[in-house]
Structures are given as C-alpha cells and as structure tokens.
Symmetry: C2
C-alpha cells in the first residue's frame, strides 16, 4: 500500500489535518502553502492529493469536523432540568472544550470567510445549532422566572463571546488554572442571566497585577 507501515500508525490523512491545523492557526489559510503542509508530514506536495482533493477541502474538513465534534460532545452531556444548573454546566463545558483546542477554535473563527458557499453554510448551520442550546437554557430560565434576561438572542451571543474570549488570553501555567477560570466565568454568566450566586455576590477576592 504505502511507503512505510509502522505497525498501525496514524493515518496519513489525519497527520495532514493535524499539520494543516497548526499551520493555518499560526499563519492563516491563505498564507500556508501545500508544500509547507507536506514538509510538516515529510511528504512531497503532490502526495497530499492522494488524501485531499484540494487545499480548500483540507480547510473544509478541519472546520466541519471541529463543529461536528463539538456538537457530538455537547449532545453527550447529561440533560439538566434546572436552568441555573444547566447554565452552569454549559459554561463549564464551553470553557473546557475550547480551552484545549485553541487552534481549531481560532481557525473556525478566522477562516470561515475562506470557505466556499456550500461548506460555509454547513458550518454556520452547526454553529447556530450550538447557539440554540444555550438560548434554550436561557428561555427555560426566563419561563420559570429564575432568570432576568432582557433579550435571549442577544444574551446568547454575549455569553458565547465572553466564554470564547478566554482563548485569546489563557495560557497553561499562567496565574489561574482552568478550574479557577471556570468558577469565575460561572459567576459572571449567572450574573448576566440575572441570577447571581448569592454567596459570591458579596465576595471580593483581590489579585495582584
């Protein structure tokens, strides 16, 4: 079949995606050449075309599999009846999931515009499906009067922006660990939903710098 077979080994296609993800995140889709990707996986540029039709299809595979994996993962989460608990769980899930996939998240944001119309719509649909999960939690909390929210769609986008924003500054080994960050954001998200945690409302932990 192939050149080298290290027992099982990771599929070449997967290694290509991994390399492309790293390079696209670092330099941007348009700035990365097929030869750069090939070099990263010790291949010639031409060999990439045994695994992907075009450069575009590599980007498409990255974006769509990222969104599909996100949806699969969140749908595997246990359903939670109480709106406050559901909102807290969503917050923790979003931060944890995104903080460990900075490259994919970055690409999903930045390179959408480089996708052809078809795949672009696919990704957009998946994204809206994800956003609806949060919006429905907010709506449920509004219905039970546990949440005090002025506008559910806007609040949905606000919360997601806030949470995804963690990726722009978080680095492992920094002042705060993931758990601490999760806790801080749970506080803020519940406050945005109009049901702040009573205990922490009064708290005032000061940090330096």
């Amino acid at each position: 079949m192939a050149r080298k077979t290290g027992s099982v080994g990771i599929e070449t296609a997967e290694r290509v995606l991994k390399a492309a993800s790293m390079l696209f995140a670092r330099h941007g889709y348009a700035a990365v050449s097929m030869r750069q990707i090939a070099k990263e996986v010790n291949l010639q540029a031409g060999a990439l075309y045994n695994h992907f039709e075009t450069k575009q299809s590599i980007l498409r595979a990255l974006l769509i599999s990222h969104m599909e994996a996100l949806m699969e993962e969140i749908e595997a989460q246990p359903e939670i009846a109480d709106p406050r608990d559901a909102l807290e769980a969503f917050t923790r899930f979003h931060i944890r999931y995104h903080i460990d996939r900075p490259e994919e998240v970055f690409i999903a944001y930045m390179e959408l515009r480089n996708l052809e119309p078809g795949p672009y719509r696919e990704v957009t649909v998946l994204r809206q499906k994800y956003e609806r999960i949060l919006r429905d939690i907010l709506r449920r909390g509004m219905a039970t009067r546990e949440f005090a929210i002025v506008d559910a769609p806007v609040t949905t986008m606000a919360i997601i922006s806030m949470l995804t924003g963690v990726n722009t500054w978080f680095r492992y080994g920094g002042r705060l660990g993931v758990d601490e960050i999760e806790n801080i954001y749970v506080n803020m998200v519940l406050a945005v939903a109009g049901t702040p945690k009573p205990v922490l409302r009064a708290t005032q932990n000061e940090e330096l710098a």
Copy 2:
C-alpha cells in the same frame, strides 16, 4: 504633481488604505494582492509603491492608526468619578465605536499575527493601554465596594470580549437598533461587575424568533 487633480480630493494614500481595509477584512491580508488593491483605486500595482514601501506597511498603517484613533477618542471622553457611571459610559463608548468600524476591528483581531515583531508590539501596547482603562474602572468600583468582582483582569477581558462580540452579529436594519443594544449590554456589564440595575433586574422583555 499627479495625474488628475480633482480640486482638493482625497489623498491617494488614504484611498489605498480604505480599499485595503475593505479587502483585508473581506478576504484576509495574505489572500489580497497588491494588484487587487491597485485595481480598487484605479491604479497599477507599481503605483502603490509611491505611497507605501511594502504591502506590510499598508497593514501596519491600518492597524496602528486604528488603535491610535481608538485611544485618542476614548481619552477625549469626559472623566467620570462614579465607578458605575464610568462603567456604563465605557460600555456605550466601546459598542458605539466598534459597531461603526467593523472592518478595522476585524483586521485588528485577525491580522495581528501577520505583523512584523516591531509593529506587533506597538499594537499590543496600545491594546493593553485600552484594556487598562476598563480594568481601572473595575478596580475603583471594587475599592468602594460598589462592585463585587472576583478577579479584575479576567473580568476586564470577559467584558471586552462580550462587547466586541457585538460586531460578529450586528447589522444595521436588524431587529435592534444601536441604542437598544447599548442598553442591553449596559445591563449585562453592570451585572458582571456585581452591581445590576435594580429596575431591570426584575424586568423580563420577551422578543420573538
């Protein structure tokens, strides 16, 4: 001097920046060629080099002038002593300023990595200076015990992400006008700071969709 002189007219360099801003925002820095920019201002590619040393210097000019204009504008705002009022003013300023400059904002986020180290640092310094304005407001509110904030730096980033996120979905002519959006975000930001507006805490305006 030049080819055509329409009485005064906008400087060619400014028209180049305008065109580059539009194209970079739409397709990304790396994906836009000097010939595309030139065509947009009815010039040949070579003529651009009478106004800019390199393609890089166009990007640099865009990013730095965007950040400098932002700083100039916010420093021109009146100082507000009360932390809650200052936070509200900051929120309104940030939304208004960014909502009307979607291209520049987008580029400032996405193309930083395409800047050479020198200009990159320049932009980063300006951005941190801007973030410090918000952080200082939060700190002042914590000192007076008006705010209940767990971590000022994290809250600063969370608020800025939340506010800048408006640009990803806002379109003029949509369901909400700028004023309404400002009001909604003021509520959410004050809540994040731990001092929600009492009146609106109990409110529950439902929208459709």
